[in-house]
């Protein structure tokens, strides 16, 4: 059994390094601001969030039907569908497919599921050389670190860090910290792997039951290259990624990149329905605890997540402690509510890595009640005697805040209000397990509550459904 991750202690190490800490905070807050600007450009933004939430809840309530439909359609398209109950089964299926092909190298685009399953070490122990083809993921691979962020795996690293790493691994100029130069070094070194690899692997952002398609969004084009250049394409996907129709896909595509980076869409939004002539396409549907989470009345909504990372970018704790401090595959607010479902003892401390300010819930494109689930997990930890005395006190304080919605809104409204109110019962003092030794986190300049009061349509101006 793994020992519990001490996120607060890990965060202290990151906080001590002011260069990295301040840079990460600034970069992520800029992403959050770009997300807000992008959302404001879309008049129907709130309606899209409601639709996305509704589509996901519908799909999860009929998940067995949609999984069966997907399998039938994908099979009819020439895709070979596999089922994996857990990480080991998933990894074994991948390895067997590679072995059947005689493949000892694999080009792979970013997939948090394969991180969750620890696929790469599994394959490497069996002699398969894996090249991560997403720039950030490759940086982390070369540095022997897990991803620190679900869409920007190496975002905690400075240009200097990457320049030094690439010089050690690729022999490039250690003093050239220009971003375009460093991306060029990656391109030059990865391209031969694409051309010669016998197998490629991708994850999937969405799986469409109606068409048997998988949909992958990237900016680098590395998923398309991984899927198309070799003769074998393996796609791993969690069973919760399924959506009913192509029509519903549109809702999520409109929300995903805007929520993640503030862009309207990713450079490549690719739909793979079947193999090309002479090639093979395999899809592995992975459970690994998801069906069990579906039974958790209080927590099953976390399965709606589309992995945009908006909750991480807005979280004052994540921004100031870095993703690696969570010691987990998924980090930040969404990680806090997902990881205990995998291993409760190991991740018992994570629910306290939050100020419960609710901004994660406000930015979530599929309306997961993230901060309420974080609070719920604190209660579970108490019920299971997983927490220390100080953290029990912190939880009682949070209880007081959440039980008074008006007070809670004041506490999250403005920086000055936060300074005025939060130190007494949420952030600053020793009762907050995370806030100890740290400054008051920066409050959003405009919270969702404020934004909505300003922007909500009047009743007679409601958007007409067409």
């Amino acid at each position: 059994m793994s020992s519990p991750v001490d996120q607060a202690k890990n965060a202290e190490k990151f906080l001590a390094d002011t260069v990295h800490e301040q840079r990460l905070d600034k970069l992520l807050w800029a992403m959050r601001m770009r997300r807000d600007a992008a959302a404001r450009q879309v008049p129907e933004w709130e309606e899209l969030r409601t639709l996305a939430s509704g589509i996901k809840e519908h799909t999860l309530s009929k998940l067995s039907d949609y999984l069966t439909q997907f399998e039938a359609r994908a099979t009819a398209n020439g895709v070979i569908v596999h089922w994996a109950r857990d990480a080991h089964e998933h990894n074994q299926i991948v390895y067997d497919l590679l072995a059947q092909q005689g493949a000892n190298t694999l080009v792979k685009s970013k997939s948090m599921l394969t991180e969750e399953c620890e696929l790469r070490p599994f394959l490497e122990r069996r002699g398969v050389r894996v090249t991560e083809t997403d720039l950030g993921e490759r940086i982390q691979q070369l540095d022997d670190q897990p991803p620190g962020h679900i869409i920007g795996p190496s975002i905690h690293k400075t240009n200097k860090d990457v320049a030094v790493l690439f010089s050690q691994k690729y022999g490039s100029d250690p003093n050239n910290e220009d971003t375009a130069y460093l991306a060029g070094v990656m391109r030059e070194n990865t391209r031969p792997d694409f051309l010669h690899a016998p197998a490629g692997m991708t994850g999937a952002n969405f799986v469409v039951a109606e068409t048997g398609a998988i949909v992958v969004a990237t900016n680098e084009g590395n998923a398309d290259l991984s899927a198309h250049t070799p003769p074998l394409h393996i796609c791993s996907v969690g069973i919760e990624k399924i959506i009913p129709t192509t029509e519903s896909l549109a809702v999520f595509i409109r929300l995903l990149a805007r929520s993640a980076t503030g862009d309207t869409i990713t450079q490549y939004t690719s739909t793979f329905r079947g193999p090309r002539k002479g090639a093979a396409m395999h899809v592995i549907l992975v459970d690994n605890g998801r069906s069990a989470r579906l039974s958790m009345k209080r927590f099953w909504h976390s399965l709606k997540c589309i992995r945009c990372a908006a909750c991480m970018n807005t979280c004052p704790v994540y921004r100031r402690s870095g993703g690696l401090s969570y010691g987990s595959t998924y980090m930040g607010p969404i990680g806090i509510i997902m990881m205990p479902t995998f291993e409760i003892r190991k991740y018992r401390e994570l629910p306290f890595a939050s100020t419960l300010n609710g901004s994660c819930t406000n930015v979530c494109p599929v309306k997961i009640d993230i901060h309420e689930q974080i609070y719920g997990w604190r209660e579970v930890m108490e019920e299971n005697h997983q927490i220390q005395v100080v953290k029990k006190e912190a939880m009682r304080v949070a209880d007081k805040v959440l039980s008074h919605p008006a007070l809670y809104q004041i506490a999250t409204a403005t920086l000055s209000s936060a300074l005025e109110v939060l130190p007494h019962f949420a952030v600053y003092n020793r009762l907050n397990a995370w806030g100890e030794h740290r400054d008051v986190p920066e409050a959003a300049r405009e919270t969702f509550h404020e934004w909505y009061r300003t922007h909500r349509p009047k009743k007679n101006e409601a958007v007409k459904r067409g």
Binding site: R85, M186, N219, I239, T264
Partner: protein, 207 residues
């Protein structure tokens, strides 16, 4: 499917059936045409420019001259359109990795999306899907009449239900993984140039 696989499938589906919440209704999805841009072409041009794509709106009567000026060092020009020969055709590639030798690739897209500045491509246009990713520079012809308003309209295109592969491509490859600032290129095409050019059979969708 072998016996282990059948067991895994049944175990997962049984667990899901036993645990899934009470059935909830599927929402009706509007297309939000009340917010349709007044000028689809202008909006498309603004949107793709934000993603580092280049649009040429004026008529290009001589594609060959245009390419010689824009890509003077190009040696291998792959044309996937019937009206232009190029130096090679996709069909001449024996292996899909051979597309890495292409300097410039010429294609025609059957649809643009004003909201995002995306163009649609599929295995129909590409023939060899890697040509759009391994070629260094892409030039894509697009009939301005085939620009749709938003992503809801875009996903009505039959390709998404019929073709093995289709992609909404929006600008050249890029990465924001270092410093959260997007730079171009990343792994795939270095540039994307869209020429607004009426299709030989105007208004007719393929697929």
């Amino acid at each position: 499917m072998n016996s282990t696989q059948a067991l895994s499938k049944n175990t997962i589906l049984d667990a899901v059936r036993g645990n899934q919440p009470v059935a909830q209704p599927m929402p009706t999805i509007p297309h939000f045409h009340t917010n349709k841009p007044a000028d689809l072409v202008a909006t498309f041009c603004e949107s793709i420019a934000r993603m580092a794509g280049v649009v040429v709106t004026k008529d290009v009567p001589d594609l060959d001259s245009f390419l010689r000026v824009k890509f003077p060092d190009a040696r291998v020009v792959c044309s996937a359109i019937p009206e232009y020969a190029g130096t090679i055709k996709p069909a001449s590639l024996n292996h899909w990795s051979e597309a890495s030798a292409i300097d410039v690739c010429i294609l025609r897209s059957p649809m643009g999306v004003a909201e995002t500045g995306s163009i649609l491509l599929s295995d129909v246009e590409l023939q060899v899907n890697t040509i759009a990713f391994l070629a260094h520079d892409l030039v894509v012809l697009l009939d301005p009449k085939q620009i749709v308003s938003n992503i809801h309209d875009a996903y009505e295109h039959p390709y998404f239900k019929l073709r093995p592969y289709s992609v909404l491509m929006t600008g050249p490859s890029g990465s924001g993984d270092i410093g959260a600032i997007v730079v171009h290129p990343a792994q795939a095409a270095k540039t994307l140039t869209v020429l607004l050019s009426p299709a030989p059979n105007t208004g007719k969708r393929t697929g």
